[in-house]
């Protein structure tokens, strides 16, 4: 029984690893191919099956005037928009979440839970519903096709995630911890940043990770709210696809797009396994 279990365990782990990793390897391999090696026959291993070329990668940094696509600027645009929007969402979202977790709000029939739900409900709507209002809103305030406009929209999209994760996290941090900080001579602000925040790092990291992922992969709003001035990476990558699909540069751009998320995942994994809160309340 246990032997079968071990076998199945390793079988599925291996299967899943291959399933996940194979496309990446395929993309890496393809990114070094030229037209000939992609279209003539199936090739796998560089130098053996085909002669590797850096053309697929070079196109990405060449200016359009020289026949390239130049994803460098969209790349940095994406990094800027994602990081700025995530940071603002985390800061505001954490403060909102702390308030929702610790204080009682009453406004008519509205209570804390209703406010929390209001935040989450922003993500329940399909994005398409929001596209026209956002478009009109941004064009009215003159932020259409600008980085700032995208940051504003992304904050709207990302803050609910931050609030949602952090409310749940703060609810699990014992209230007595804040109270002890107050008794020990902290005013409420000191209690928050000297005691509550340092113990919320795992939650902040999870929230930050989700914000970065959702901000980074968004195609829909980046596509609708920008035209020529500003372009984000996902839009640019999709735009690579023309009548003759340039599989090599498409693969290369897919790899550089995924790279930041993989780096984030590795950093986050290390922090998450620390598990910082277990000693607060037994």
């Amino acid at each position: 029984m246990s032997k079968l279990y071990t076998f199945l365990k390793y079988f599925f782990i291996t299967f899943w690893t291959v399933f996940v990793v194979a496309p990446f390897l395929w993309a890496v391999s393809t990114s070094f191919k030229d037209f000939q090696s992609v279209n003539s026959k199936v090739t796998y291993i560089p130098w053996l099956d085909f002669e590797p070329t850096l053309e697929g990668w070079r196109v990405l940094i060449k200016s359009p005037a020289k026949g390239g696509v130049d994803i460098v600027e969209p790349y940095f645009n994406s990094i800027f928009v994602t990081c700025t929007a995530s940071l603002i969402s985390i800061v505001l979202g954490t403060l909102a979440a702390y308030a929702l977790s610790r204080f009682t709000f009453k406004a008519g029939f509205v209570r804390n839970n209703d406010i929390t739900f209001f935040f989450i409900s922003q993500r329940i709507m399909p994005p398409i519903v929001l596209s026209i209002p956002f478009f009109i809103f941004l064009s009215t305030i003159g932020l259409l096709d600008s980085l700032l406009g995208l940051v504003v929209v992304y904050i709207v999209l990302l803050m609910p995630i931050a609030v949602w994760i952090m409310v749940d996290f703060f609810n699990r941090v014992p209230k007595e911890l804040d109270e002890t900080a107050l008794i020990d001579g902290c005013n409420p602000y000191q209690a928050f940043y000297k005691v509550v925040l340092p113990n919320s790092i795992p939650g902040l990291i999870v929230a930050g990770m989700f914000c970065i992922i959702f901000g980074w992969i968004d195609f829909f709003f980046a596509f609708i709210l920008t035209f020529t001035e500003v372009q984000l990476l996902p839009v640019k990558v999709v735009a690579l696809n023309s009548s003759i699909t340039p599989w090599w540069s498409l693969s290369a751009s897919a790899l550089v797009s995924v790279a930041p998320l993989i780096i984030v995942a590795f950093i986050v994994e290390r922090y998450l396994s620390k598990g910082n809160l277990s000693g607060a309340l037994k």
Partner: protein
């Protein structure tokens, strides 16, 4: 210069958490608040600490209106029943936290922390993480943090309740030592608990709290010997004092078709219906006694708790040896009539074996 509370009420919802509570705590004394769960003990301590503001009433300390002073300026210390420490700091940093908050000099901090660590017996644990400590050690850290602060008011909210039996016994003993050695004469120590035994051992002034109301105040011995009413008798005994509805006539005490000779301290009692109270430890197994049916027998340590029934009366007897009984078995027991309490039908104490009230 005392900590004085007057007519404090706190009612955040339908129910009173504190109802007309008054107290006068003097410096250098130990006060215990005895009450069952949800009786308002924690609320009272939090009100004194300043974490809650009462709806009515006043608290003053050293002639200052305490309610106007925010928590972080009150200089109180509190130990919770959960083991609350700062998880991101190690043991040493946990204890220095309040001292650094008060901006004491590094030498002073070092001195105070070392002293506190010594008092609670955690020397050598300075660099440990909180998560690496056992429950008892975590509670010691919390206590050390409170002691090092040298706060004028030290609040302990059921500090032993979440510890296992052995550790509780051990720490309780140590608490008595710590309270006598580690505290200055300026400190007011307020200790809340559900456990009557803890109250008796700490032997301070007791406030019995129930449903947010003060039922009785007085020295531990007085509460134990002369509980002012049935509720106090229940709360201040573990197992709770048995109550038997019965009556007294000129010759006997009668309850459940049992007649007992009238004990001396009941001689002057009016002949009428009473609620008689008798402690579980004053009931003995006796071949010539009265027959009761066993509903449940619990063995706890070296004692056996018998839950007995006869007619409409239920009672608990504490037998000081380990014995095995079958449920529904009949046993014969005898009451120590000299230890009977009499409570009126209004549940107030009428006569106690220790000479309480008019009798």
């Amino acid at each position: 210069m005392n900590l004085i509370g007057e007519k404090i009420s706190y009612k955040p919802d339908e129910q009173f958490h504190l109802n007309d509570v008054s107290f006068n705590f003097k410096k250098g004394n130990l006060y215990t608040i005895l009450g069952r769960t949800l009786s308002g003990k924690t609320t009272l301590l939090k009100t004194i600490a300043g974490l809650l503001n009462p709806d009515q009433g006043s608290i003053s300390f050293e002639e200052k209106d305490f309610i106007k002073i925010p928590v972080w300026e009150r200089n109180v210390a509190m130990v919770y029943q959960q083991f609350i420490n700062y998880p991101h700091l190690n043991v040493y940093e946990n204890i220095t936290f309040p001292l650094e908050q008060r901006k004491l000099s590094p030498e002073q901090i070092k001195k105070d922390v070392d002293e506190a660590l010594k008092t609670v017996g955690l020397v050598g644990f300075e660099n440990r993480k909180i998560q690496e400590l056992s429950g008892g050690q975590q509670q010691r850290v919390a206590l050390a943090r409170s002691l090092a602060k040298k706060a004028k008011i030290l609040l302990l909210d059921e500090p032993l309740v979440n510890l296992d039996y052995k550790l509780r016994e051990q720490l309780r003993e140590e608490f008595k030592r710590i309270f006598s050695e580690g505290l200055s004469q300026d400190t007011i120590l307020i200790y809340s608990t559900t456990d009557p035994q803890e109250v008796m051992e700490l032997n301070g002034e007791v406030i019995v709290l129930d449903e947010g109301r003060v039922l009785q105040k007085g020295p531990a011995k007085e509460i134990f010997e002369n509980p002012s009413n049935l509720k106090v008798a229940e709360i201040s005994n573990d197992p709770p004092m048995n109550v038997l509805k019965g009556s007294k006539n000129s010759k006997n005490l009668n309850f459940e078709n049992i007649s007992l000779e009238i004990p001396n301290h009941f001689k002057n009692l009016e002949d009428k219906d009473y609620n008689f109270g008798i402690r579980a430890s004053e009931i003995k197994l006796d071949e010539n006694g009265e027959e009761f049916e066993i509903e449940l027998a619990e063995i706890s340590g070296s004692e056996t708790l018998l839950h007995l029934k006869r007619g409409n009366s239920k009672l608990i007897a504490l037998i000081e040896e380990v014995m095995n009984f079958k449920i529904h078995e009949k046993v014969k027991i005898n009451f120590n009539a000299n230890k009977f309490y009499a409570f009126g039908e209004d549940e107030k104490l009428v006569s106690s074996p220790y000479g309480g009230t008019d009798g």
